[in-house]
């Protein structure tokens, strides 16, 4: 189950990580997927264990049934999100599920840590939006007058950003999944890693087909700064062991940089959908985790 979740997270995040560099023809589809896989695996192995803290804090001792409930509930939420075309955050859903299971068995105690997570979830999109606006305005005012030089640097920088986005996804989302089975974290890490490789190749192709709907249709500065903010915010969350959605922070950066570019017309339905998913994902995870534990347990 953890391997399967690793596969869907990896496949689902390919377009957010490498969509720009593949779509703009900088690298081939295969090279883009390889960059993402290297990032995922390095992130998972180097900083992934930091995210084990979530399960350790809320479920210090867990049974196989509880592990199964958590993974199954998260997988069901992901499938539901895909079927209804609502962009649900997997890391938030998984955290919500862990909390739901923890609440159901009466071990939900680490309130300080929970408050810190909630503060991050609320503030990260706001800060990313504000920083997106700030960076783009700063860029407009102080960047070099030679646009071609600037764009060449931004374009090359997007390759680095693609790798960093994959790295933080690997450490944060995949690390969170690998930390769920408490008694065998190393095996779980290997299985999630294998799952992410398979997911990138099998499911990533489908996600890449939707390229033009996503980040690729942005101006270079906006794409660069939103990815920089996405990767930077999630990396900060990694240091504190807080699960955070890469897509969520990148989306906030996109909104912020769009506002700075004097974007007067915004697709309000899409923005509403994104914001709703930020709230729906953990709430749904909590309810499903709680319900499944009561039913199966």
């Amino acid at each position: 189950m953890a391997g399967l979740l690793g596969a869907v997270v990896s496949g689902n995040n390919i377009s957010a990580c490498c969509g720009t560099i593949i779509g703009s023809g900088m690298v081939s589809r295969r090279s883009g997927i390889v960059i993402a896989i290297v990032g995922y695996l390095l992130g998972l192995s180097i900083e992934g264990p930091k995210l084990f803290r979530v399960r350790q804090a809320f479920l210090p001792t867990e049974t196989s049934t509880e592990i199964f409930s958590i993974l199954l509930a998260t997988l069901l939420i992901f499938i539901g999100g895909e079927l209804t075309r609502v962009p649900l955050s997997l890391s938030k859903a998984l955290t919500g599920t862990i909390l739901g299971v923890s609440f159901a068995i009466g071990t939900l105690q680490q309130t300080d840590y929970l408050v810190l997570i909630l503060i991050f979830w609320v503030s990260a999109p706001i800060v990313a939006t504000a920083l997106g606006m700030f960076f783009v305005r700063l860029d407009d005012r102080y960047s070099t007058r030679n646009l071609w030089v600037k764009l060449s640097l931004l374009k090359a920088g997007l390759v680095v950003m693609a790798f960093l986005s994959a790295y933080v996804t690997g450490s944060n989302a995949l690390g969170l999944i690998a930390g769920v089975p408490s008694d065998q974290p190393q095996i779980a890490t290997v299985v999630v890693g294998i799952g992410s490789v398979l997911g990138a190749f099998v499911l990533g192709r489908g996600a890449l087909r939707r390229l033009t709907e996503g980040i690729y249709s942005l101006r270079y500065p906006n794409a660069f700064y939103s990815q920089l903010l996405g990767a930077g915010t999630v990396e900060l969350a990694n240091q504190l062991g807080i699960p955070l959605s890469t897509t969520e922070t990148v989306s906030s950066g996109i909104i912020g940089s769009g506002l700075a570019s004097k974007m007067r017309v915004m697709n309000s339905r899409n923005v509403f959908l994104i914001i709703a998913s930020w709230i729906i994902s953990p709430a749904l995870g909590f309810l499903l985790g709680y319900g499944l534990t009561l039913v199966i347990g």
């Binding site: 646009l147 764009l151 270079y220």
Partner: protein, 230 residues
């Protein structure tokens, strides 16, 4: 090793800049076409063989232009440029290609008239041709400005906007000439037969269209540069 260097170089290479270079090539073909058109119109009375030679050369340039447009479309299809600006780039290529198409159509019409001269319009013809040359010469200045715009667009936005304004002013100047020409043609309906009347109206509108295309292209360059973050 060379492959790796090429790859790394590719990271810094901009599809948008390459597209501008290719469209500039297209504009250079347009420039040559307009020079030939002026030659056809000013060396009056032209021998048919001279007109034939120039028209054939313009046809060749138009075909070369079509090949460039095709290669640009392939380039866009491969995703070398930002999807956000794809439509603008397509329109830009189409506008500059339009100059070649119109120059081609005009040269063929002039060849047609040279082959079978219009009997009743000989005196009137000289006046109209003079104004047509003025229109084409304005288009030539516009096209030279447009080519300069392609080269300065990435490095100096202020100068680029200035160039676009100059091209727009030239288009307005051309509009006045076209209006005067049309007034002249309509005012002389009694001395013109149907074929002559139709010929002058069509060629005047066609010549003015070249100026419009140049102006559209310069506006699109500015739109693209702003879209790219200038």
């Amino acid at each position: 090793m060379n492959r790796v260097i090429r790859r790394v170089k590719g990271f810094f290479q901009l599809g948008e800049r390459d597209a501008f270079t290719r469209i500039d090539e297209l504009a250079s073909l347009g420039e040559e076409s307009l020079h030939l058109l002026v030659k056809i119109l000013t060396n009056s009375p032209n021998g048919l063989s001279d007109v034939e030679t120039c028209t054939n050369r313009i046809s060749l340039l138009e075909k070369q232009g079509d090949k460039i447009v095709q290669s640009l479309e392939e380039m866009f299809g491969k995703g070398s440029i930002s999807a956000l600006l794809m439509r603008e780039f397509e329109r830009l290529a189409d506008s500059v290609d339009g100059v070649l198409d119109r120059a081609h159509a005009l040269s063929r019409q002039i060849r047609r008239v040279t082959k079978k001269p219009l009997r009743e319009a000989k005196e009137f013809d000289a006046i109209i041709r003079k104004d047509q040359v003025r229109l084409i010469e304005i288009a030539l200045v516009q096209l030279q400005g447009l080519r300069k715009l392609f080269n300065t667009a990435g490095s100096d936005m202020k100068q680029s906007v200035e160039l676009a304004k100059q091209i727009e002013l030239l288009e307005e100047q051309g509009d006045d000439i076209k209006d005067n020409m049309l007034d002249e043609i309509y005012g002389s309906w009694e001395v013109l037969d149907y074929a002559s009347f139709h010929n002058y109206i069509e060629t005047t509108i066609e010549a003015d269209d070249i100026l419009d295309r140049c102006e559209d292209a310069s506006d699109l360059v500015i739109v693209i540069m702003k879209g790219l973050g200038a």
